[in-house]
């Protein structure tokens, strides 16, 4: 049985006291780890330095990075394992987003169809008067 391709969001925090090029290297190694694990990286977003809500490994701040990836769950587990052993990454979270995206698309579609319906019903109810205004 082929493994399903799923979309995930992986957010991780890099320790803030590294120099710029060092953090770049950390992010690129995470990306390459992902690709070797069998995950395609779709988007990389640096969210910048943020104050942490609580101390993590005695750090008050952190550099947030957000990856949008696609791949099977087993590959994501491998990526998580690598993140765990990557020393400069102090925290990470991976969230599956494909179902949520599907739900949002559905909601949006329903809402759009309702918006389209509403003017039509208003026209039919009011009669011929608003029809020239719209046309």
């Amino acid at each position: 049985m082929p493994q399903q391709q799923r979309t995930y969001e992986v957010m991780f925090i890099v320790r803030p006291d590294l120099p710029e090029e060092e953090t770049d290297r950390v992010i690129s190694t995470v990306e390459s780890n992902a690709t070797t694990a069998g995950i395609t990286v779709k988007n990389v977003e640096r969210m910048g330095k943020r104050r942490l809500a609580y101390k993590v490994r005695k750090f008050q701040d952190g550099l947030y990075v957000l990856l949008t990836v696609e791949g099977p769950g087993s590959a994501l587990a491998e990526l998580e394992r690598r993140l765990r052993v990557t020393e400069p990454v102090i925290k990470y979270i991976s969230v599956r987003i494909d179902e949520e995206q599907k739900r949002l698309a559905k909601v949006k579609k329903i809402r759009d169809s309702k918006v389209r319906q509403r003017p039509q019903t208003a026209e039919t109810a009011a009669g011929s008067e608003p029809a020239p205004a719209t046309a």
Binding site: M11, I13, R50, L52, A53, Y54, V56, G62, Y64, L66, K91, Y92, I93, V95, E100, L104, V107, K108, R111
Partner: protein
């Protein structure tokens, strides 16, 4: 004129004939015990105060035992049509987190149950990645 009056008379005569029918229907229901709901809509449930018109919850507030006015709480997500409750949206989630970092209950915020469920999940994810505190420092 005369026709109109006649019409009124006929309608008024119809109305009383309808009202005695309703209590007649309620009396057997009252004997039965649990089951006055389908019948008791018009003349109120037996043993209830006559002040409540129809016994409908969330009426105009008149006749209820509560004297002070309370604004009806509405779900922010339903009203503003916020579809996605994401763990990254700290400003949104922060509105539903108390000072000490607790999730504010639904009864205080008025958020509807499906949205509160999503909200809770999002807040917990945000806590996990240190966007929100588990417990704020005093």
């Amino acid at each position: 004129m005369a026709d109109e009056e006649k019409k009124e008379v006929t309608t008024s005569s119809e109305a009383p004939s309808a009202t005695p029918a309703a209590p007649a229907a309620t009396t057997p229901a009252a004997h039965a015990g649990p089951g006055p709901r389908p019948y008791g809509r018009g003349p109120g449930g037996p043993g209830r105060r006559p002040g409540g018109p129809g016994g409908r919850p969330g009426g105009r507030g008149e006749g209820g035992p509560r004297k002070f006015f309370r604004r009806k709480k509405v779900c922010k997500f339903c009203v503003e049509k916020i579809d996605s409750i994401n763990y990254k949206d700290v400003r949104l989630l922060g509105q539903f987190v108390a000072e000490r970092g607790k999730i504010v209950p639904r009864r205080l915020t008025g958020v509807c149950t499906p949205h509160q469920r999503r909200l809770t999940a999002a807040i917990k994810q945000a806590r996990n990645i240190a966007l929100l505190p588990f417990a704020a420092r005093y």
